[in-house]
Symmetry: C2
DNA sequence: GGCCTTATCAAACGTTTGTTTAACTTTGCG
DNA sequence: CGCAAAGTTAAACAAACGTTTGATAAGGCC
């Protein structure tokens, strides 16, 4: 479980390659070369290519999940403010760890890896549960109108995902050089936050009509 | 360009396999076996595996794009109704051709295939342009408030994509058997339409507050 | 029938794949 | 030091990969 600097370096390199070329599209030799280690080291450290992917996901998982819990139990903040915090949180997380999230969402849409899929579903469920709590709290207080909880999550995550996964498209829409990742994410981040907040504010205050 | 029944059959089989196992995760032998043709036929008909993917995309492309054009120039329908029609249209299209859209969105997030990416971006641009027209028409008539056009597209497509790409997650949320695709999509389709219509109705009538 | 084009096939091609081996070096501890 | 454990390497492994080959069959046209 505890990893050396070298192992973490390999994971970081693999993460970047998996994100840009896909898991199947990346060979262990690609990873070894980019990480400047011998091919055999990957088997030596991780056992196999697939276990390397699992190690990568497990390692990145440790960094998530905390803060949402305390937010859902926060008593002083109102539902509107909590919603804003959540949006900032999700946008920051998903854009900062976009390689990781790209890999996750690709892996999730692949019908294989039964075991891994279950783990991912559980993580997402746990995070979602807390957003539900906040929405329901707002509903009970009469502040939020009735909305589709599950699809509201889908909208938030889907909108953010979309800007990452279809970056070439949005670069084209916004007249940004396709290769200038930096500029793109600097521009899209505040816009995403503003858009999602307005969207949810409108939706939660008007509710699902008719 | 014109394809025989057999070629279309191979494309259909490949589409299904690419969607569930990924492009790189599917071998030409997989395709040949599932389509019950000899491996050599794939090179013979399409030239290569990559050209098969391109043929698949080109072939599916021909079925799209029409109806949006006439809608954007329709004079009798009001902006609200047009928006509803668009949402029905997108949900129907993307769920019906979910394998195709899954492949597209995975391919778009892969940094390779420069040429193919450009083609995909152009298609998406053309479709988006027409939605922009409708939104702007609503704005000019004073019916829609000011919103983020680009990210509104992202929300619509992203929400739908999300339900397809992360199906295992939403199956878990909605207590549906992960393997029962039929039931899932039958349930999610009307819900998606209702959710997106309410969402956009609220957003477009209140606008981007701050 | 003769002939050209198209279709189909099993077999083989040369690479690349993920993984293992066996020899070697480095490290850490008594 | 001495020596076992851990780290590192080039080379080799079988399997799978996308593609090509050369042979054979079928169909249309003169």
């Amino acid at each position: 479980m505890e990893m050396s600097e070298k192992q973490l370096h390999i994971l970081a390199v693999a993460e970047s390659l998996f994100a840009s070329k896909g898991y199947e599209g990346t060979s262990v030799r690609d990873i070894a070369q980019a990480a400047e280690v011998n091919v055999a080291m990957i088997s030596y450290y991780f056992g196999s290519k697939e276990k390397l992917l699992q190690s990568l996901i497990m390692e990145r998982m440790r960094w998530a999940g905390l803060m949402l819990e305390e937010l859902s139990q926060n008593k002083t903040m109102g539902p509107w403010d909590k919603m804003d915090v959540i949006i900032d949180f999700y946008v920051d997380r998903m854009l900062k760890n976009r390689d990781y999230h790209t890999i996750l969402s690709r892996q999730m849409s692949l019908a294989q890896n039964e075991e891994l899929t279950k783990i991912l579903v559980d993580i997402k469920r746990r995070n979602s549960e807390m957003i539900f709590q906040i929405i329901n709290e707002g509903k009970e207080k009469g502040i939020f109108k009735d909305v589709d909880n599950e699809l509201t999550i889908g909208t938030v995550i889907g909108t953010i995902s979309q800007t990452s996964m279809s970056r070439p498209f949005y670069c084209s829409l916004l007249n940004i050089d396709r290769d200038d990742e930096e500029t793109y994410y600097k521009l899209i981040e505040p816009r995403l936050k503003k858009h999602l907040k307005s969207l949810l504010r409108a939706y939660l205050s008007l509710g699902a009509s008719e």
